[in-house]
Amino acid sequence: MATRPMRIQLNARNRAFQFPATENERILYAGLAAGINLPYECGSGTCGTCKARLVSGEVDDLWPQAPGRKYLKQPGEFLMCQGAARSDCSLEVANFVYNMDAGACLPAAGRGTVRNARRLTRDVISFSVALEAPCDFDAGQFMVMRVPNVPGYRGYSMVNYERSARRLEFAVKKKPGGGVSEWLFNGNIEDKPIELFGPLGTATFFPAMAKSILCIAGGSGIAGMMSILERACQEHYFDQYSGHVFFGVRSMKDAFFLAELSRFRTEFSQKLTVTIVLSDEDAPGDAAQRYPALAFDRGLVHEAAARHMTGKYHNLRAFVAGPPPAVDAAIRMLLLEARLTTDNIRYDKFS
């Protein structure tokens, strides 16, 4: 039975917005799909950034155990990423909210089918999603996805980059106890259906930014960096600007995408450097022979970046992704040691 969409009235600090939301549609996704840049970060219930206050109307909480609920303080507050309207609603967010810029890739719901699933390491899997309808995204963005028989969405960065993409590639680290992660790692997922919403995220790269780039990635945080490097290489960005990539993993057998990183590096060897940083071991003796285009170092990835980047921060934008402690440490280094301004630090925390 088709039901009338609910009308959501959202009062922000600077102005008000109205947008429709259908039954069971998450209010955050409904607003983003309407081109309104609502506050969010993870889009999947953990960060608390999308909190709003219900002024009137009824909202169903689709995930009452969401970790992000710990940021809710006042009565009536809820997470827009987990709230679905049951009636016309009036909401309030204590943020300045604007429409998305012209040229932003408008997020939308989509469907696809899993293809080419394969293990990259003992706890990282790669797979593609063949989309029913093509999708535009910016390099560095992510999708939230929902899989059969698992409640809720999880966010994963795209690895590839192309306009009107019919296929999205992902690289996901195993997270014990994570519903979507368990589904991806246990059993045969080939040809299974997946629901997506996106693209999301502002840790994006555009050639027009005209700055050198520094990528600091821990583990599967390299996924979005691959998309950034793909776009930069497609457009010969490193003919003019420098690129520095630091990819941190525990040991050599946890490393992946080394052939792809070697290809980027070989094509733009003048201005692009790629360093694999191992936290738990020295690089094995044959690593340099197997991957002559890559450099290897030992330690924590942000410390290695700090050692190699001294004096190279002029006109530079940093991209940071990985587990929250690694991201926090890298941001601390970039602010306090590198003295980058906050608009030149773009990050995703996979919390």
Partner: protein, 242 residues
């Protein structure tokens, strides 16, 4: 408010910061920079995250959650921050640090940092007014003679006329300035209706008189006009900055 004891000097790390309970639920962040001490609200105005867990380099305070930043001296927002920090005047007396709560004008985004004499003149022009919940400050089309500084409470704006109105934002932080048409030329009337959503205390100040005061102190006037233009831009801007 009489001054309140917050902590001992030795409790604040050199060139560092620490959070203290100043009593009655008031949490205060105290930061050191050389011989000086600064005090401000202890939680981020964005999402109530503890600022003591953030980063501080002796002059700039950064919230680790979304990288909002402020000048520790004034509480003025820097970079991505959308709101100022509520700052206190920190007084060092022997070994102890006390705070004094500043007036709404000093907290405000518009007048923080201008010369003390000029601020005192503007303060003298301000009338403190209290409004009940539901009280209307002005209607669309009313003359825009005065501007307001929020001291406490909450004010909402409506645009449109009769039954065709819609919300156009709201004010909730001490020191926020609105009705700034009174400070502009060729904006003689209100374009929105302003209503108090809860019992509110406001400073009401005549725009022309403030402009006269600022003309006699162009350095302060320049600062105020710069702040006013970024204030207006924030309401008109797109999200392009991020």
């Amino acid at each position: 408010m009489p001054r309140k004891f917050v902590c001992r000097r030795a409790d604040v790390p050199t060139n560092g910061m620490a959070e203290f309970d100043a009593g009655e639920g008031l949490k205060v962040l105290v930061a050191n920079s050389g011989e000086e001490y600064f005090a401000c609200q202890a939680t981020c105005p964005h999402q109530d995250v503890s600022l003591a867990e953030g980063l501080y380099d002796g002059s700039v305070l950064t919230c680790h959650q979304h990288l909002w930043q402020w000048d520790i001296r004034s509480g003025s927002p820097l970079g991505l921050a959308e709101m100022p920090l509520n700052c206190f005047k920190a007084e060092v007396d022997n070994d102890s640090i006390y705070i004094d709560t500043p007036g709404a004008l000093n907290v405000g985004e518009l007048f923080a940092g201008i010369s003390e004499g000029t601020l005192a003149q503007i303060n003298a022009l301000a009338r403190r007014e209290e409004y009940p919940q539901g009280g209307t400050l002005y209607e669309v089309g009313d003359p825009a003679d005065d501007f307001y500084v929020l001291e406490s409470g909450r004010v909402e704006f409506l645009i449109g006329r009769d039954d065709r109105t819609r919300p156009a934002g709201f004010m909730l932080r001490k020191g926020e300035v609105f009705g700034w048409a009174a400070l502009l030329e060729s904006q003689p009337v209100r374009i929105a209706k302003a209503t108090c959503l809860e019992r509110s205390t406001l400073l009401r100040i005549n725009g022309k008189r403030v402009l006269n005061v600022l003309e006699a102190d162009p350095a302060s006037g320049y600062l105020v006009m710069r702040r006013l233009s970024s204030l207006i831009a924030r309401y008109l801007a797109s999200s392009g900055a991020r």
